[in-house]
């Protein structure tokens, strides 16, 4: 119980950090990782700036960055994506009637069925992060696609890095 309260405090603090970071590193990181979402990041920055005057409504806006990425064979949340997750946690907590599907993905290396498991692990790591922040588990669904539906076609390390991901689908 105490932990949960602490987590909520932390979440609020983090969300402030998101707001601050939104116009700097948060969006550009995503842009670097995935060229196709460059426009999305731009929109996110604009709306983020509009909202920065009234932090009470931070959860009103659906976060614009919907994808986070993982290291090879890892489901560990990378520090640079915590701000993205905090933004989604804020949004979900402010909108308890909104549900999200976390789509877990893996790169193409290794067997397809095992990669379904890896994709699910990544989505579960995100789910756990969100629930620790205070998001209700009933708002979260998980689907693992494993190496199916790659974001980027190709057999390069760059493509693999963009395919090891969890996507927030509202």
């Amino acid at each position: 119980m105490q932990f949960k309260t602490h987590a909520k405090t932390l979440a609020v603090a983090m969300s402030l950090a998101v707001m601050a970071g939104c116009s700097s590193s948060g969006g550009t990181q995503e842009g670097n990782m995935d060229g196709t979402s460059g426009n999305m990041s731009g929109q996110g920055m604009t709306s983020g700036q509009n909202m920065s005057g009234s932090q009470m409504n931070a959860g009103d806006q659906m976060p614009s960055v919907n994808t986070i990425y993982f290291a090879f064979d890892s489901e560990e949340i990378r520090p640079e994506f915590e701000s993205v997750l905090n933004g989604h946690a804020q949004y979900l907590m402010a909108n308890p009637n909104v549900n999200v599907t976390l789509e877990g993905y893996a790169d193409e290396r290794g067997t397809r069925e095992y990669n379904l498991g890896l994709g699910e692990r990544r989505a579960q790591a995100v789910e756990q992060y969100l629930t620790v922040q205070g998001v209700s588990p009933s708002q979260i669904q998980i689907v693992s696609y494993g190496e199916e539906r790659p974001a980027v076609q190709g057999h390069t390390e760059e493509a693999y890095a963009k395919n090891r991901r969890v996507v927030f689908s509202y």
Binding site: T111, L116, R149
Partner: protein, 438 residues
């Protein structure tokens, strides 16, 4: 000789015409073509003489060529090229064994085809050149549409007469094709002859399909489809198309594998948190959970006697193969060579396991002897996965990459011979070799 040549030309013309008609009328056909990329240095030389045709015009199929291709693809035979044939007998009575010894043919196949009403009678004979004796002779009746199947039947008989191993040329393969990307992605489940011909699409979807698995009677395919928005296991009748959704639990529904008696389906379900091995009794739909571990446990396969299951688990920190009793119990780790071993498939004799292993040079198909633990890496390509063993154990079909295209590959179970089965378009993957069908 001259007569045969002119007929050969006509036959070729007929085949081209048939191929064009097929391309025009059945857009769904997506035949795979075989490209041999490694031949065994221990393959037995065999002479296969073009079968004499006594009818009008040409035949829609070159039966002797299909037999020759089958035997060559097995990796166990090296058919002489037609230009190396010293004469063109059509019956054992016309064979001079000394001639064939001179060209180092160990075995000889001759035959003739006669039209009979709407059918053809194919008479073929197999001879042991070294022993100077006839080993096999048979007359096969075939319709025009069935000539390829008849040729595969003949290949089966020749293969078994010489090797003592039942031929698997009349079997089929199922596989998944994928084309396009993003919103334009299309997936399809195909069934084709073991040589890639006669491919038929039996399901298509906008959503991913994977892990087709044949029922032991060869009538049904279990597979995973994402059409409902999540993975779900379906069972489909391969000929009628009738299908049922078997599982659609929360989380992963994957890796279906039929028990040898066809009554149960092993699978991987993550409905209770993480992927675990379950067995479903198909009549009652009752599920039994076999593993309980905070690890990914998937890719089950039944031993041929139905007594045990091999599966992949990363409980040690990386995927490795384990074996456990089919009724549940302790799992014993099987693989210790390399830090990535997955997708284990029993050989039909139950004595070894084919699997995917990762070493410094990539993901390969390997075979592990279950008695000695000895591992033999069978392929030298980098991205090999999804091994599926022919019902006679002589070949393994798998998925690999050729350039940026996903193609099917096959390797003999001794690793000596291999070939590829590329598709004309799109990626093909997830091959599953059928059981014996006749």
């Amino acid at each position: 000789m001259k007569r045969w040549l002119s007929q050969g030309r006509k036959t070729l013309a007929t085949i081209c015409w048939v191929a064009l008609m097929c391309a025009a009328t059945t857009a769904q056909a997506q035949n795979l073509t075989i490209e041999i990329n490694r031949s065994s240095d221990q393959a037995t030389p065999i002479a296969i003489v073009p079968f004499e045709f006594s009818g009008q015009g040409g035949l829609p199929q070159d039966v002797a060529q299909i037999v020759s291709d089958d035997l060559e693809h097995s990796g166990q035979f090296a058919p002489l090229s037609r230009s190396a044939l010293i004469s063109l007998p059509s019956s054992s009575q016309d064979v001079y064994y000394d001639d064939w010894r001179k060209v180092d043919a160990r075995y000889l196949v001759v035959g003739k085809i006669q039209p009979q009403g709407n059918q053809y009678q194919i008479q073929y004979e197999l001879m042991d050149v070294l022993g100077g004796k006839r080993m096999l002779g048979e007359t096969v009746t075939s319709s025009a549409n069935n000539l390829r199947a008849s040729a595969h039947y003949i290949s089966d008989q020749i293969f078994e007469a010489i090797t003592g191993i039942r031929g698997a040329f009349s079997t089929r393969i199922a596989y998944i094709s994928a084309s396009g990307s993003g919103d334009n992605a299309r997936y399809a489940l195909y069934v084709a002859d073991a040589d890639g011909h006669n491919s038929q699409q039996i399901l298509s979807s906008d959503d991913p399909l994977l892990s087709p698995a044949w029922s032991p009677d060869g009538n049904k395919l279990a597979y995973v489809s994402f059409e409902s928005g999540n993975s779900a296991i379906y069972v489909q009748n391969a000929s009628t198309g009738e299908r049922v959704r078997l599982t659609s639990f929360r989380g992963i529904n994957g890796a279906p594998a039929w028990s040898p008696d066809g009554r149960k389906l092993a699978m991987s379900l993550s409905k209770d948190g993480q992927p675990e091995i379950y067995v479903m009794d198909l009549a009652s739909r009752q599920l039994t959970r076999l593993t309980n571990n905070r690890a990914i446990e998937t890719e089950p396969d039944w031993s041929p006697d139905g007594q045990s299951l091999v599966f992949t688990s990363d409980r040690s920190g990386a995927p490795q193969l384990y074996r456990m009793p089919a009724g549940g119990g302790n799992a014993e780790r099987l693989t210790f060579t390399n830090n990535y071993n997955s997708d284990g498939r029993f050989s039909p004799d139950g004595k070894s396991i084919f699997m995917v292993t990762r070493d410094d040079t990539g993901y390969h198909i390997a075979k592990q002897d279950l008695d000695t633990g000895r591992v033999t890496v069978l392929t030298d390509t980098r991205w090999d996965e999804s091994p599926s063993v022919a019902p006679n154990g002589t070949m393994v079909i798998f998925a690999t990459q050729q350039g940026s295209q996903g193609v099917l590959g096959a390797v003999s179970s001794d690793g000596r011979a291999s070939f590829r089965l590329p598709s004309a378009q799109g990626d093909v993957r997830e091959p599953a070799w059928s059981p014996f069908l006749n």
